[in-house]
Amino acid sequence: MTLPQVPILPILPELILTLFGIAVMLFDPFTAKPHKSWLSSLAFIGVLAALAGNVLLLAAEGEYYNGMIIVDSFSVFFNFLFLIIAGLSILASRQYLVREGVNHSEYYGLLLFATVGMCFMGGANELIMIFIGLEITSISTYVLAGFRRTDLKSNEAAIKYFLLGSFATAFLLYGIALMYGATHTTHLSQISSALLTGRIDLRLVLAGTALMMVGFSFKVATAPFQIWTPDVYEGAPIPVTGWMSVGPKAAGFAAFLRVFFVALPALDQKWFWVLWVSSVLTMTIGNTAAMLQSNIKRMLAYSSIAHAGYILVAFAALTPNGIASIMFYLLAYSVMNLGAFAVISAWSLSGERRVTIDEFAGLGYRQPWLAAAFTVFLLGLTGIPLTAGFTGKFFMFRAAINSKLYWLTIIALLNSAASLYYYLRPTIAMYMREPGESGRTSAPQDSAPLQISMATKVVIAVSVLAVFYLGLFPSTILDFAQSSAFLVH
């Protein structure tokens, strides 16, 4: 019997994150309560170490572990994205957790473990591996969503996400099983070549494709599987909501893209129309419902649904340029949304009060810098020129136009224009309304000067810089994305 050689390099970022995750969990019971914050620093160092490990991956392209893991620039790009998201989220959570009295280090451990799962989803070359990555991510996310465990809404969010998420995972798993039954393999490129031989039961493959699509659509929250999003995003702790709306969503899209473009290109004319319809529904539902919200977290939840719809527009383009633009947009969207949630977290009061749009009144006078940053993020999400949101949307819609998807692009542009209405509402409240005008009487301690920690300031500053950098000089990132969007042949 020959023993397997175990290369460590291809999963180096995952290994580093796992080690640091275990260390954070293990040190937590040995750390006295006032000193818990050093564990969040430890988690942050873990993310930095994993980033360094990810750089080494660039030189190790290829398939590993019997083809289960693939290292290519696509997976490396997504690893960078997940690690950046994890790092910013750790920094953005520190002050919040202390304020809400839930400064348990398990938070950081779970965040690291979830990032491990996300990295596996980006680097998976095989359906079972994708499933495992998805489960690692989801289970950590369920716990994080209910992290304010004495709060009913947080509990509701965790239970809802857990029940519906398990259900969606079952769909995905059943799809994988049918695909394996039809093609006798779970390896993505082998599925693709099995489909080309024509000696397979196409009905099974189509049923499997449909079920997998349900699973992925749930995870990235696209219509008609977006119903869970607003409730879960509203109930989860603010930094978790920010993280959930970018991290697991990006991981879902990474796996979604790889499965459909590597394994199922032979059927693209069949799933194209599903994407088309889902895209239109997702954008329209997300934007329409976002206009009606009074809670800023719910509004951004619907906005994240709408953004998933824009991403599907580029998905439906079925070209490498479309994939590259999605990768770029996921990065742009991540920094904008994480920044916006960092501002919300800084402005809200303990117990997650002061999170309705009206209650942002007066922020412009009391905290001009915070308000300016928030405006930048909201304008970025709208897609105003000079910001990352504009360049991202521009590349995505250009990819759609190049594939002659004129109607889809027009619908996306109309949606994008309509979204200006609800993104401007907090801005108007911040600059043009007096606090208390909405009829709420604010308690005296609520008007005390805001204490914003250094970590939160760093997150907001980095996000603002990234929004402008990606908006003004997109070519470096886009070139890298384009070099890795090999997926379509």
Binding site: M1, L3, P4, V6, I22, M25, L26, D28, P29, F30
Partner: protein, 120 residues
């Protein structure tokens, strides 16, 4: 492909035959003279009081869950032990890694007080 599942089918049939067979035989052959004492949950034991449908402390579930977790992890040791000679040092270090991770979890729950029944 289905043929490879034949042994599993045979095992299921055998297992149910033995299980139902023994129960059925004792039902058919044995004598039945039920008395109230015999029908109590604990014959010659303490008389039951109240309903069994009560709310239990969450501690029971926690303990049960932790037990299952570590029990399942121990099961992985059996196949490993069977082919230990073939795996040699590779197997040794793989299992060492696994045990260390489990141990980390054990230290974590111990220090957190999850094994301490009196702690709230």
């Amino acid at each position: 492909m289905l043929r490879s599942y034949l042994p599993i089918l045979i095992q299921i049939i055998l297992a149910s035959l033995i299980g139902f067979g023994i129960l059925g035989l004792s039902y058919l052959v044995g004598k039945h003279k039920p008395t109230p004492e015999k029908l109590m949950p604990y014959e010659s034991g303490v008389r039951p009081t109240g309903s069994a449908h009560e709310r239990f402390a969450v501690k029971f579930y926690l303990t049960a869950m932790l037990f299952i977790l570590f029990d399942v992890e121990v099961i992985f040791l059996y196949p490993w032990a069977v082919i230990y000679r073939e795996l040699r040092f590779f197997g040794f270090f793989e299992m060492l890694t696994f045990i260390l991770v489990v141990l980390a979890g054990y230290v974590y729950i111990w220090k957190k007080g999850a094994l301490d029944w009196n702690k709230n």
